[in-house]
Structure formats: structure tokens, C-alpha cells
Subunit: 239 residues, 2 copies
Amino acid sequence: MSQPLHLDISEQLRQRITAGDYLPGAKLPSERQLIAEFQVSRITVRRAIANLVDQGLAIAHQGKGVFVTERRKAVYTLTSPGLFVAEDLQNQGIALTVKTLIFEQVTPPQSVQQLLQLPSAEPTAYLQKKILLMEQVPGCMDITYVLPEIGELLASALQHQMTFPVLERHNIPIERVEAMIECQNADPELSQQLQVPLGHSLLTYHHTAYTTGDRPVLHGASISRGDRFCYAVSLNHAR
Amino acid sequence: MSQPLHLDISEQLRQRITAGDYLPGAKLPSERQLIAEFQVSRITVRRAIANLVDQGLAIAHQGKGVFVTERRKAVYTLTSPGLFVAEDLQNQGIALTVKTLIFEQVTPPQSVQQLLQLPSAEPTAYLQKKILLMEQVPGCMDITYVLPEIGELLASALQHQMTFPVLERHNIPIERVEAMIECQNADPELSQQLQVPLGHSLLTYHHTAYTTGDRPVLHGASISRGDRFCYAVSLNHAR
DNA sequence: CAGCCTCACTTGTTATAACAAGTTAAATTC
DNA sequence: GAATTTAACTTGTTATAACAAGTGAGGCTG
């Protein structure tokens, strides 16, 4: 055997998916059917399916079956820092709800203290942890640290609305955002909150926002499902 | 049982990793040892380890063992389109080699034809597929379509050097880049080329570069290992 | 007819077993 | 002593088996 059986089978199934034999949303044959078709043991069929799931081509639902994944992604456009994630998605016709999990005053980790230039005497900030529901489905978890004076002032507003619009409305303009985008994998907590399998690919947008005078206002991370979202940015030479 | 055994075990191991009991690069206990410690079957231990691998915390080497992953990432800084990936990485002290897999004239897919505004009479372009080796290790696969006249002119230079510096040296300034960053998972080809397991998280940077007069010059995708790379960008309000 | 139950299906978990294949170091051979 | 072989480890593949748990349809009961 030059190649493992499970790979051989998952490649055949992959070909059928990319060829359109199984359309997005459609149910793949059950384990029992695949066992009969390929004449292998259940463990091999399950491994073949796991290969497809790992590649993001299929998703399994206990009791129901394995289904071909939908491949549409919503775009976060990173233009000027003013109009943000929320509006941009709503422009794409995606209903968006904010569910705050945590909103409290904490002592952030060293790295955040530094980025927000908190006074070392009393290095506190407001921590907001929220889930963004797109079309009633959790798509993004946002963890943001806000300067204490701003968190206190805008507590009620921040808990029900998107962050940046609230700030702009209260005369805290965002002049600059330093961002970093990376890939991570769902740990058990994120797996549960975003309702994805353990290890699922996630796209993380780390950002530090500065207001006039280059003073930092907030620092946070938006962790989105990697199979549902992407980021667009335009880079101009003339700056 | 409220929670599967394999999850229970992988969580205990995860805690040891995050607590620093097992440092990056260190070898985890062998399957045999874990079977003895947790008093479960091999299949359960293997599933627990698979959970860690899926979360990007460990990597398995047949015959050698399972090792805690290193967590350092190289940063691609997206500033002005001029200085690019290559220089940026070299500034970070990372040795970079280009290995061209394919360089030929082709008829690109419809979507690329449109982006490059190719004449529908003869919609050809040069396709370059290359592997970028960082410290002799494959880290990124780049697939780029270049306008035919440029591909022809700069064939030899493009095959051994980075794309953007070559263009700049030949008086083809890049004025604007439209980019999109997304997450994808390694299919068998990428898995083989980048030497990562099937389904491994990858970070893809799609880009279309325009020269003076807003004329498109090239369109491509840079597919990097998600566990090794990230993108940084600075967004200014004043544009 | 509404509600409940049962049954047949699905995927998920776990155990035992055997062999394959990559790695390393000790033992053997030349 | 150097090269080769062997043995003991490691993880990878595959089979068989049994039970758990989620789903949905059909039938039974009130």
C-alpha cells in the first residue's frame, strides 16, 4: 500500500465534492453506506470523513449525518477606522446581534497595560467579552480592554451596541488603529462559545485604537470563525 | 460520563503545556506511558493527542514522539506596497530562499482574467508557482499570475528573486494593492508542499497589484503556515 | 387529534488486537 | 574501530466489537 486507505477514500470523496456531485449543504453517504461501497472497516471510513472535516469540506452532526460545508464568507473591510465591522456587515445584509458575556473592571495583563499606557499605580481597565451573533449564529468572540474612564462612562451603551460607533458618538474619534491578523485554533472555550469543533480554524484580529494625540483608547481581539469570515484591506503607496 | 475521556485527558495535558510543565520543543510522554498513567486504551490516548495537535499545541513525528509546538510567529508588515514580504522578513533576521515550481504561460481562470483586465481575444498570463523557504523550511506557497508582457520580459529575474523588488527595479512602480486575508486548511497538495498535516491551518493573502494609471499588473495568493506567520497593518483615519 | 413511545437510523466513544513503518541505540560482524 | 545488523522503542494504519447518544418517523395511547 503506497498510500493509506483513509486518504485514498477521502480523496475520492473530495473529488466528488469539488466536482459538484455532492453540493454544499447536501448529505454525504452514511458510514454504513461508505463501508459497503469501499469495503473497508468503520474506523477507516471515519478517518476518511475526519480528513474531509479537517480540510473544512464537510461537517458532521451526531444523529443526522455528514454534510458538505457552505463556502460563503463575509468580508470585514478595513478602511478608515471609523466605519467598522458592524456597519460593514450590515451593508452586506447580515443581521448582527451583540451578546455581552462579561463587562467588569479588571487588572489587565502586563502587555495590555503597556499598550494602553495605564498608570502603574492603578493599572485597571474595563474588560468586555462579547459574542457577535450573525443571523442568530455565533460568528465572532470579541475580547476588549477599554480605558477605565471610558468604560465607566459608556457602560450601558457599550454593552448593547458596537464599540466604535459608541465612541464616535461620544466625541472620542479614532484616529489610528494598529492591527495584527493571525490564525489560531479553537480551544475548548472558543469551541463551545462559537459552536465549532475543537481545533477549528479561527481568524483573529488584534487591534489597538488611538484617539487624538496618539492616546490609546482600547485594545482587543476579535476572534472569528475562519470558515465564515475574511478581511479585506487596500494599501496605497501615497500615504 | 459527562465528558468524553479523550477530552478529559487532552485537557489535563493542555493544562500541563500552558503551565509550562512541558516546554515548547519538549517531548510528551509516549502513548504507552499515557496509557499507563490514565488507565485507558490506546485509541483514547491517541484521540487525546489528536485533540492537542488539532489545537496547534503539539505535533507528532512517527517513530520519534509527540512534541510541544514552538509558538513564535514571523510578521508580514503591510505598509506601503513597495517594501514587501521578503525584505520585511529579512529585517527580522529570517533567511529566505525562493524555489520556483512552475513558470509558464497559461490561460488563467475567468476571475483572474477579469481582475487583470486581459483582452478577451487572447487572455493569457504567466503563472508562477513558488515555495518560499524560511531558514530552509517551507513556510509559504505563492501562486501569482503576471501580465504576459511583464512575465516574458522578466522571466529569469522573477524565477530567482522576489516579485515586487524585481518590478520596482524595472520601473514598474506598484501604486496600490487590493488585498484580502483569509483562513484555509491544507489540502493534500498544500499539505505535501508545506510539509504540514492534512487540514493544517493556513493564512492566505490574496492580492492584486496596480501600477500607475490604475492598471493591474499581477494577481496572486500567498498561502502561509498559520502557525508560523501573521500580518500586521496600520490603519490611519487621514487618507 | 395531541402527546408519548418505540424503533430504526445516524454519528460518537471506547476497548482489544495485530501489523506497518520510522527512529535510535546497542550488539554484532567484518 | 567502522560498518552493518538487530532489537526495542516510537507513532501510523486497519479490523472487529460493543455500547452511548442524538434524530426522526411511525405507531400507539389517551
